[in-house]
């Protein structure tokens, strides 16, 4: 017993010593668990070859990413040196003192021009138009659509569609066409359904889906400078957008009431739906024959335009920030310098990362690399995002509480829903002293 105990102590001592000796040459980046994080690990392995510093990408499932990151921040913990945080966190993390101010780094490397404008605006700057930067745009992302090319190009389907709707069946250019096509392919008795959309009411999943409609219908969540929401989120365009999103829900497969990116990719891989909404980051899996038996028949299109011709998409994606409690900020800055260089950004794109680097993004090489890169390139210039204020989570909760019962539970009307949401948001902004 005693010898066992001695061995145990010796083992623990060795462990403790080796971890401290490693710590000097090790940087930890925290991100959510998804393909881009694996691509980033591949990329940073190359940094070790150049610098000798090992970089580890630590991940956690999306559902507790926010909770885990902020728990660490609130405890002033140094477990992570850098974090690839969501765009909505900028307000909370910058005003909370969790992120290192990168404004000088930004101007020194002229990043406002090196990176695509939309990514700088939404992933890096807080407050809006302040010229203060907190992150380096790392993974550009937005919501796009995938569809079944073989269903769309079937001559019999094309003829039937034309007869019913009076125009040719093709990837939709407008939301009206999207609704027609979803209705056309919705055939529950054939186990075929129209469309897959986001309906998960935790965090920002369903809200991102509804945003796609709201933005393209020409409406906004509110005025990001005055925090006025009445007349924006409950405007006739926004109400119409919500009504049409609910109509789309009627064309989803059975049980489509808690769905996010996993289920929406499954809708295509399982051959369930004609079209599916998802982040561009998840499209590589749809082109992989090993994960999608319909890979050869899968096509992609950007979020369609609304009735007024406006065309926008909800922004996903993240910037990489330095955690202010890390004792390796200098090494982290050196890493970021390497990360933003032209060659590394090009390599990042090759590995499957969605670079925000303007030069790489607009190169023909990138745009022709995959069937969806062109749609991604175009989308990244017309993206809009959710509120990035510190109280964004409360705004999301209110949105989930109001939108979900209407879309999935068929409660109330779209106008009532949006009016109630406007009242909730007004109360929250008032509570934090943003409005009178």
């Amino acid at each position: 017993m005693k010898t066992n105990f001695k061995n145990l102590m010796a083992g623990a001592a060795v462990c403790a010593m080796s971890s401290t000796s490693l710590a000097a040459e090790e940087l930890v980046i925290f991100w959510a668990e998804w393909d881009p994080a694996n691509f980033l690990q591949e990329l940073v392995n190359e940094y070790e070859e150049v610098s000798g510093i090992e970089v580890i990408v630590e991940t956690t499932p999306w559902s507790d990413f926010q909770t885990k990151a902020f728990t660490e921040f609130n405890a002033r913990g140094d477990a992570y040196d850098m974090i690839v945080g969501d765009s909505q966190w900028l307000g909370a993390a910058s005003t909370g003192g969790h992120y290192v101010d990168l404004t000088d780094f930004f101007s020194e490397h002229n990043l406002a021009e090196v990176m695509a404008p939309a990514t700088v605006k939404y992933y890096a700057e807080y407050p809006g138009n302040s010229g203060s930067y907190w992150a380096i745009p790392a993974e550009g992302d937005a919501v796009g659509w995938s569809y079944r090319k073989d269903w769309f190009e079937d001559p019999a389907e094309m003829a039937a569609f034309n007869e019913k709707y009076g125009y040719d069946l093709a990837p939709p250019a407008t939301w009206a066409e999207l609704l027609d096509i979803a209705e056309f392919f919705h055939r529950p008795d054939e186990d075929r359904y129209g469309v897959a959309i986001y309906t998960d009411n935790s965090y920002d999943a369903m809200v991102m889906g509804v945003e796609n409609a709201i933005f393209s219908y020409g409406a906004d969540l509110g005025d990001f400078e005055t925090y006025k929401v009445d007349g924006h989120i409950n405007s006739p365009a926004a109400v119409q957008a919500l009504e049409d999103y609910k109509r789309l829900y009627g064309y989803t497969p059975p049980g489509w009431a808690k769905t996010f990116f996993v289920e929406n990719n499954q809708a295509i891989t399982e051959g369930l739906t004609a079209m599916s909404m998802n982040y561009f980051a998840f499209f590589p899996a749809l082109l992989n024959e090993a994960t999608n038996p319909h890979a050869a028949d899968t096509g992609f299109f950007a979020n369609p335009a609304g009735p007024t011709g406006a065309q926008f998409a909800a922004l996903g994606g993240q910037g990489i920030s330095v955690v202010s409690y890390s004792d390796k900020q200098e090494e982290s800055m050196k890493f970021l310098e390497w990360f933003i260089s032209d060659d590394v950004q090009k390599r990042w794109a090759e590995l499957g990362g969605y670079t925000a680097h303007a030069k790489t993004l607009s190169s023909d090489e990138f745009r022709n690399a995959t069937p969806y890169n062109e749609a991604f390139y175009q989308t990244m210039f017309k993206v809009k995002d959710f509120w990035a204020v510190p109280e964004f989570a409360e705004l999301l909760t209110a949105a989930n509480q109001r939108l979900y019962p209407f879309i999935v539970g068929d409660e109330g009307t779209a106008q009532e829903t949006m009016d109630a949401l406007a009242r909730d948001w007004e109360a929250t902004f008032k509570k934090y002293g943003r409005t009178e």
Partner: protein, 301 residues
């Protein structure tokens, strides 16, 4: 006086040989427990009581501002919070009633001489040995309208157990009943086997019917232990989080624990969620007290 009786050491014991006093032994056992309790239970409890009167948010550096009873006022006036309470009450009633009926029924069936009784009892207890999260995950698959075995077995077609807002809470409660009925069964079985056999013999001699025997002999004698099972299950059902959180995200299944988690760790409204936790605590203590009073009454009979 009583203490000296409790703490008196056996003169021949090893502790006595080492020269440890009665008091030292007592302290050795009690002090770590008390310290643990104070550090991890009492202190956070009081600390969060303080927070519940402030607008503190753990995610910011802003100092906590005293807001008096504002948090409590807001919570008790919020329509969504009341919805969470109603949902939880409904859930507790359905799930505990279901567990008592199923669990007690199983105990009655097992309380006789049948072959392989031990093995059957052990197998029936398997569900409660699983982790709540695991149960949630695989019942989600069982309920799936496209490939779930429940719809297939019952011939329900594409019936939406978890996507239909009106059915989802029952589906979650059903899972809870499946998981925890064995617990009620186990306690009932212990109660049933303690009922003296001669009472039944006497009832038989008096030609009492089986219903009469059940209501006049079995039930009153098992009642105290059944009440304990109900207390435990009510408290647990009140706190249900993981299983419901994994199974469904319907607003109709948002139990108070889920709402509390979201408020505390997604929105980081630390002050307000502390107040919420206190409201829940007071409710659970009150309900438990009612039960315990009733339990004592039952015992007196």
């Amino acid at each position: 006086m009583a203490l000296s009786v409790i703490a008196r050491l056996e003169p021949g014991s090893r502790a006595a040989k080492r020269g440890m006093s009665d008091l030292a032994i007592r302290n050795l056992f009690i002090i770590p427990t008390i310290t643990f309790l104070i550090v991890f239970n009492i202190f956070p409890l009081l600390y969060s009581l303080g927070y519940s009167f402030t607008d503190f948010r753990a995610s910011t550096n802003a100092p906590a501002k005293f807001v008096g009873l504002d948090n409590y006022k807001f919570l008790l006036n919020d329509e969504f919070i009341w919805r969470n309470f109603t949902i939880t009450a409904k859930y507790v009633i359905i799930s505990v009633t279901g567990q008592v009926i199923v669990g007690f029924g199983m105990a009655m069936l097992l309380n006789r001489d049948i072959p392989l009784k031990g093995l059957i009892t052990t197998l029936l207890m398997l569900p409660m040995m699983l982790s709540m999260a695991v149960v949630g995950l695989f019942w989600k698959l069982l309920y799936d309208p496209s490939f779930g075995i429940i719809n297939y077995g019952l011939g329900l077609g594409k019936f939406e157990w978890l996507a239909d807002p009106d059915v989802a809470l029952y589906a979650v409660a059903l899972t809870d009943i499946w998981m925890w009925s064995p617990f009620v069964m186990l306690l009932s079985l212990a109660g049933l086997s303690a009922v003296p056999k001669h009472l039944y013999e006497a009832a038989e001699i008096d030609r009492a019917g089986s219903f009469y025997t059940f209501t006049r002999i079995t039930l009153p004698l098992v009642a105290p232990i059944l009440m304990i099972a109900i207390i435990f299950r009510t408290m647990e059902a009140f706190k249900t989080f993981d299983m419901a959180y994994i199974l469904s995200s319907q607003p109709t299944t948002e139990l108070i624990a889920i709402r509390l988690y979201k408020m505390a760790f997604l929105e980081w409204q630390t002050g307000q969620s502390s107040a919420f936790a206190y409201i829940v605590l007071i409710m659970v203590v009150a309900i438990t007290n009612i039960y315990v009073k009733y339990l004592n009454k039952v015992k007196e009979r």
